[in-house]
Symmetry: C2
Subunit: 133 residues, 2 copies
């Protein structure tokens, strides 16, 4: 049902400076960076094996990521698991009464479907699910 870890997301205050450790000190490569204005974040993707480190930096002070950074400080934010069939997984989670942020999959663009599981249901971890095309 779950095939791999797609990414581990880490919140940092600013993308260029925050990439320093991962790229310059640790030697990871940056696959791409992008701005996501609708979520008020800049993102960098750094492949590690079959997974990615995803660095998230808020571009305003009001977004969810900005508030998380303000409250918790920089650090691990969420993990994303790839699934074969996101509808089946969400049905299974609903049957188990796991609280979901997204009851139905969201369109992630380019054929990707995604949904977030509420940390209340996982033991404190924000978990994202991806079904890739």
């Amino acid at each position: 049902m779950i095939t791999k870890i797609n990414h581990i997301a880490i919140v940092i205050p600013e993308l260029e400076e925050g990439m320093g450790f991962w790229v310059n000190a640790l030697g990871l490569n940056v696959k791409k960076t992008e701005s996501v204005p609708e979520q008020q974040v800049d993102i960098a993707f750094l492949p590690v094996g079959e997974s990615n480190i995803e660095l998230l930096a808020p571009t305003d002070t009001e977004s969810g990521v900005a508030k998380y950074l303000d409250k918790r400080g920089p650090g691990l934010h969420h993990i994303c698991l790839e699934v074969e069939d996101i509808d089946t997984v969400l049905d299974r989670l609903k049957t188990a009464s796991v609280p979901l942020i997204d009851e139905e999959p969201r369109d992630g663009g380019h054929g990707k479907k995604l949904a977030f599981i509420h940390p209340k249901g996982t033991g404190g971890v924000l978990v994202e699910l991806y079904q890739l095309p």
Copy 2:
């Protein structure tokens, strides 16, 4: 230099109950569970692709993991990256003035070498390095 994510460690109050979401709701398998008395934790390993979810539950109230749980609540604790040559990586980190918890690799048993990088040096993330035999 970095080959893959070995595991993502998640702190939970109690192992059996905390495994419920990951095993019963999400359908992951438990590869093994073990008690590590010298660190006062119980651990469960749940494979996901080439990586693992590692669930950590403190067995006392004074260990590092217990204090983390008390201060931050349950959730993501650290990530562990596999490296080919841990001495080379640590030398590179020292050259970059990254603060380390372990200046030299620790013996992890069965030929494994490990070291922790201080969150101050990574932008808030506790990072473990593994060199496997």
